[in-house]
């Protein structure tokens, strides 16, 4: 082996050794992360030994799981077992923040995208600025220490991601979290706002969907009020808030004469007819001139609106009765075991027209609702006709069976006599 070749071998050996070392160190680091997240933190070791862990402390806290120690927020030296050294000013110990400091305290990291993107590149970092614009934030700044800060909703030492069903800010838990303060009459007394929102919400269509049916597509408090920038929706924004989900209803309403009039009168768009927290399931009698019709809250006989309400109600009722009649016939077809597949498709189309007509109600224009209800009525009548044909066909089958039975019976009787005749021989 030449000297040049020797050098090459040594170089390769050194590179290999360095690589093995790096990979080994990485493996150790990864291995270390798999150990209980709080086991290497001297703060926790001592506080646990002293039975002095903060209230609500949870090992699966999102920060702890990401490798952030107590010192990440409170400062100090988490490697020292000496209390004096670990919690000294020299070590940067800041202790527990007072309430007014909490938003800024969390915002040190959460408003810094350069820091946050290490953990979650897509995370929003505007929570603090939003909070400052909220009622909570403004009041806190003005010295009201009763309002919510970050920890009121997220907790302090057992913070879980909002997607975790155990989290206090998971959609299913948000109403209860808000209700913790907003449902307490004693706590809220000085603010002069109702404390029945949770009960109203829970009894309304959205609350039932979210809390009973666990349908997270249904809005919780923060979907209408905002979360960090929580604020009651204003007159101008309320229809936009509802329109986030009920897009067509909102667009029809905004473009309608009623929308214009509401804006002029400074009325609360959707809320005027549907309420706010306790939003009842809608029904066709909400429109029209009957006792349950919300139109009659403003309109009186002789007005254009009165006539429009009556026409739209009549249009909806005509479709609903045509649909119900066809549905009853379809049930009959199903009961006798005849083919109801085509009828089912037509019924679906008719029902689709009904849904669209009910949405078009928000145009408050009978000329727009009418064609849609007529379309639905036509489909329902087509289905009804098909159902009648099937029932008629069943009758044909029964008659056919009757005729076959007569024929077979004649044959049986003839055979019977033939057999008797043969046996008699």
């Amino acid at each position: 082996m030449t000297e040049k070749e020797n050098k090459a071998v040594v170089t390769r050996f050194l590179i290999a050794a360095v690589l093995v070392g790096v990979v080994g160190a990485m493996a150790c680091a990864v291995g270390a992360q798999e150990v209980r997240p709080d086991s290497g933190d001297q703060c926790i070791v001592c506080h646990r030994a002293e039975d002095y862990l903060p209230e609500g402390y949870g090992e699966d806290d999102v920060h702890l799981a990401a490798g952030l120690t107590c010192a990440g927020c409170h400062g100090g030296d988490p490697t020292s077992s000496d209390e004096e050294t670990a919690m000294s000013e020299e070590a940067g110990f800041v202790g527990a923040p007072v309430k007014e400091e909490i938003p800024g305290f969390c915002g040190r990291c959460h408003s810094d995208i350069d820091f946050m993107r290490q953990y979650r590149p897509r995370i929003a970092t505007d929570q603090l600025s939003q909070y400052r614009t909220s009622i909570h934030g403004k009041r806190l700044e003005a010295g009201d220490s009763k309002v919510a800060d970050c920890t009121s909703c997220h907790t302090a030492h057992h913070i879980l991601p909002a997607g975790d069903t155990r989290s206090s800010v998971h959609p299913l838990n948000v109403p209860a979290t808000c209700d913790h303060c907003h449902g307490d009459p004693e706590y809220m007394k000085e603010y002069g706002i109702p404390t029945t929102q949770y009960d109203n919400y829970a009894a309304g269509v959205h609350g039932v969907a979210l809390l009973e049916k666990q349908d997270t597509g249904s809005p919780a408090c923060n979907d209408c009020h905002g979360n960090h920038g929580a604020m009651p929706p204003g007159i101008t924004s309320i229809r936009q808030v509802c329109g986030n989900c009920h897009v067509n209803n909102m667009q029809y309403f905004v473009a309608s004469k009623m929308g214009e009039a509401f804006a002029k009168e400074e009325l609360h768009g959707c809320e005027e007819c549907h309420g706010n927290h306790r939003i009842e399931k809608t029904h066709d009698d909400m429109i029209g001139i009957g006792e349950e019709a919300v139109c009659m809250d403003c309109h009186a006989e002789g007005e254009k609106g009165y006539e429009a309400a009556r026409s739209i109600h009549d249009q909806l009722v005509s479709l609903v009765s045509a649909y119900d009649e066809a549905e009853a016939k379809r049930d009959e077809v199903e009961r006798i075991g005849m083919d109801d597949v085509e009828i089912g498709f037509l019924m679906q189309e008719s029902h689709q027209s009904l849904i669209q007509a009910r949405t078009l109600v928000h145009t408050f224009d009978p000329a727009r609702v009418g064609p849609k209800t007529e379309e639905g009525v036509a489909k329902a009548q087509e289905a009804l006709q098909l159902a009648k044909e099937q029932i008629e066909e069943f009758g044909v089958r029964q008659r056919g069976f009757g005729m076959a039975t007569v024929f077979i019976t004649i044959l049986v009787v003839a055979l019977f006599f033939k057999i008797r005749h043969l046996d008699g021989k």
């Binding site: 089958r397 069976f401 039975t405 077979i408």
Partner: protein, 356 residues
């Protein structure tokens, strides 16, 4: 002219001796004669199955994507398709019922004894083939209940010791119930089983014709002049025809007033619906397997159940070879007790299966 055709055929195929054979074949008339007709009814229902089955094949498509739709097409668009499909389904069930009745009547009248051992054995195999027809045909509409029932059924096959697993794979055409299962069930249902069934049925009928109807013991002891006999042709055959016509009328009644449901199309990715039940004739076995504990001593409960049914089935098939003649003291014979217990067991388990 008819006579001319007859003569022409007779010259070539010697039909006259056959007719003479049938004319001189007599059927005894006694208080158990009614049971002679059960096999005939089962035969009639098999013929109905063949005819309606051929008509269904004209439109049925044995493919995962189109099987369900093709059955729906048959029942909604094809002229009289609803009738053919319903008659096929009802007739299948009635056929199994009458085969069971036929088997038990043969059992209790001890018609399986010498010299009819092979008639009994072929009959028993025909019964198992009829069950095979039911099992494979049930899947063909590719609806939800059938899909999951087949899954459960083939899973049970998989629990058979030694050959279970490969048999399950062979039946399913893979690990799971898929379109491959459907196409092989179709092939088994319309080609394999009919071929074997037809051959065995031919043998079974040939044996019956050669050996004549079995006479109960008390009749055998009577002198010839005290026995009532009727000619097989045409007297007995006309009685058969009369009964067949009545059964056909019942079939039409069921098809018109209780059309066979199609159900919801199978979705292999959906979770199994509640209350999956096999066809009624498998229910007693299914319920038994459900009741056996997971483990009995050192053996798996399901395996034990399958083995027990296997042994019982083979013993039942071989009954002509181990059953002993009448006890001289006239007491009830063990084989009758076994038969009665088998019926009671099957009925209780079936009813239990439907109630739970």
């Amino acid at each position: 002219m008819i006579k001319g055709i007859y003569r022409w055929l007779d010259d070539r195929f010697h039909i006259t001796p056959l007719i003479e054979f049938m004319r001189h074949k007599y059927v005894p008339v006694h208080r158990h004669t009614i049971w002679y007709y059960m096999g005939g009814v089962a035969l009639f229902l098999f013929i109905v199955q063949v005819i309606t089955g051929i008509l269904l094949v004209l439109y049925y498509q044995p493919d995962e994507a189109s099987a369900y739709e093709s059955v729906r097409f048959i029942t909604t668009k094809v002229s009289f398709g609803w009738l053919i499909r319903s008659v096929h389904s009802w007739s299948a069930n009635l056929m199994v019922l009458f085969v069971f009745v036929h088997m038990f009547s043969t059992f209790f009248t001890r018609a399986f004894r010498r010299p009819r051992e092979l008639t009994w054995v072929t009959g028993f195999v025909l019964l198992t083939l009829a069950l095979g027809f039911g099992f494979t045909g049930y899947l063909l509409p590719w609806n939800e209940l059938a899909y999951f029932a087949t899954k459960v059924g083939t899973d049970i096959t998989g629990a058979v010791p030694l050959i279970g697993k490969p048999l399950k794979i062979l039946l399913r055409g893979g690990e799971d119930v898929t379109g491959a299962t459907l196409s092989r069930f179709y092939a088994i249902h319309i080609a394999l089983l009919p071929a074997i069934f037809a051959a065995l049925l031919f043998l079974h009928l040939l044996f019956v014709q050669r050996q004549g109807m079995h006479e109960p013991e008390y009749l055998q002891r009577l002198p010839a002049e005290r026995k009532t006999l009727i000619p097989f042709f045409p007297n007995f055959l006309l009685r058969d025809t009369l009964l067949w016509l009545m059964v056909f009328n019942v079939l039409l009644f069921l098809a018109v007033f209780f059309p066979w449901e199609l159900g919801v199309e199978a979705d292999p990715f959906a979770s199994a619906p509640e209350g999956i039940k096999p066809e009624w004739y498998f229910m007693f076995m299914f319920q038994t397997l459900k009741l056996i504990p997971g483990h009995v001593l050192f053996i798996e409960g399901e395996v034990l159940g399958i083995l027990a049914f296997g042994v019982a089935g083979v013993a039942w098939m071989l009954v002509p070879f181990w059953e002993r003649r009448t006890r001289p003291d006239g007491r009830t014979r063990p084989v009758t007790v076994i038969g009665v217990m088998a019926i009671i067991y099957m009925m209780i388990m079936t009813i239990w299966g439907y109630l739970v």
